[in-house]
Symmetry: C2
Amino acid sequence: MGIKERHERDREAVRRGILDAARELFVNEGYHNVSIRKVAERIEYSPAAIYLYFPSKDDIFFALAEEGFRLLGDPSDLVNHERFATQAPLDRIRAIFWRVYEFSVEHPQYFALMFVDRSVPRITREYERFTFVRDMKSHIVEQIQVCIDATVFPATLDPTVACRLLIMAVLGVATMRLSDRLARAENADELARDVLNVMLAGLQTGIPLQSTVVECAIDETAPSAARVS
Amino acid sequence: MGIKERHERDREAVRRGILDAARELFVNEGYHNVSIRKVAERIEYSPAAIYLYFPSKDDIFFALAEEGFRLLGDPSDLVNHERFATQAPLDRIRAIFWRVYEFSVEHPQYFALMFVDRSVPRITREYERFTFVRDMKSHIVEQIQVCIDATVFPATLDPTVACRLLIMAVLGVATMRLSDRLARAENADELARDVLNVMLAGLQTGIPLQSTVVECAIDETAPSAARVS
DNA sequence: TTGATAATATGAACACCGTTCAGACTATGA
DNA sequence: TCATAGTCTGAACGGTGTTCATATTATCAA
């Protein structure tokens, strides 16, 4: 009874083909310049066929966003890297968030899809479901906790909040860079480094924060993305 | 010979009508949901007529971005407000950048158009030409200089760079909020306040910065936006 | 082996989009 | 009165995401 399995494999192969074609177009041309018709032409199927595998164009790019998070997550394996281990706790935090900025430079299309573009907003509601995204987050929070334990950061600091604040600051520079909002004379890398360093210095001062702990529990009541039945 | 003048007035009236219709649609529905056809229908003209007043859809929204900057600039007249004058120098800085965040909440569509959307990138290259934008910037830089003179910020701090860094940090929160990237449990206002305060605290520590002074001179060699002849 | 069934793929169409252009209309100045 | 210049439009071009009846094909039960 391996027929059903073969069918499933075939189906998965076509699905992956669609994703590969979409990714290639998407990385080279950006979300808005990729059309279903172009993807269809690339995989030598009719445009309508794609809708047998994905309910909408957005869902294709939702799947690509997952790829993006994996791509961003991988280098944070450098948490276990020996060079990383020898760094001072604060330098590790710096390295982690600098990595996020670097990712925005190396993979601008993925980055925009994951953090900026307002066309695929469902991404946010979904990506917390991926365990590896949650693992990434707790990895970072752990490292911040190391800093707190080493009295580099004040004991009053909530590592989850600190993580969020750092992400947002870095995201600001990345967004301006990506949306072409920097003057010719400005060096985005220097600005990113400065923003990151100023934030780290600010966190060390121990000024009181308002933000409360963010519960990262998965909301099981939230509707999942529609899937082809 | 007032006929030519009347013609010009009529022309300007239609132009303004297009902008008003576009703005109303745009503020309510967002850039991507506004089509030339909808604008045309609203002003009871044919879609083609719009192209006699604007060379492209983008140029309409470029004009709207100018409106946005005026909208953002006006409240910074509170620089001259008596309550503002009595505030401590650092609180003034805080108020100014908090105002930027508030603007992103009150006018999300304008904000996205001005700082986030990648669809109308020409905006950046152009808006520095508006003197009032430059006035805004120098206003802020002035206030930062007051902080430096009052030894709230270190003398080594470049106020232009500080302004830029603060803008980016605030922009990060605003972007995440607008692109719907915040978890349900997160309070954007609190995060914005924290990011701003952490940045201000960090700037006060006097850590060295890499970023160099940004020359805000207008680049006269840059091509201006195409205009209807 | 035959025939019903379920899955898969497609062409054509729908309703949009930004933009262009030949031609109609109209007010103006000679 | 008439040519002209300015204004406007209908129709079209080539594009978009998506839907659906239809055709093809592979599977499995009879």
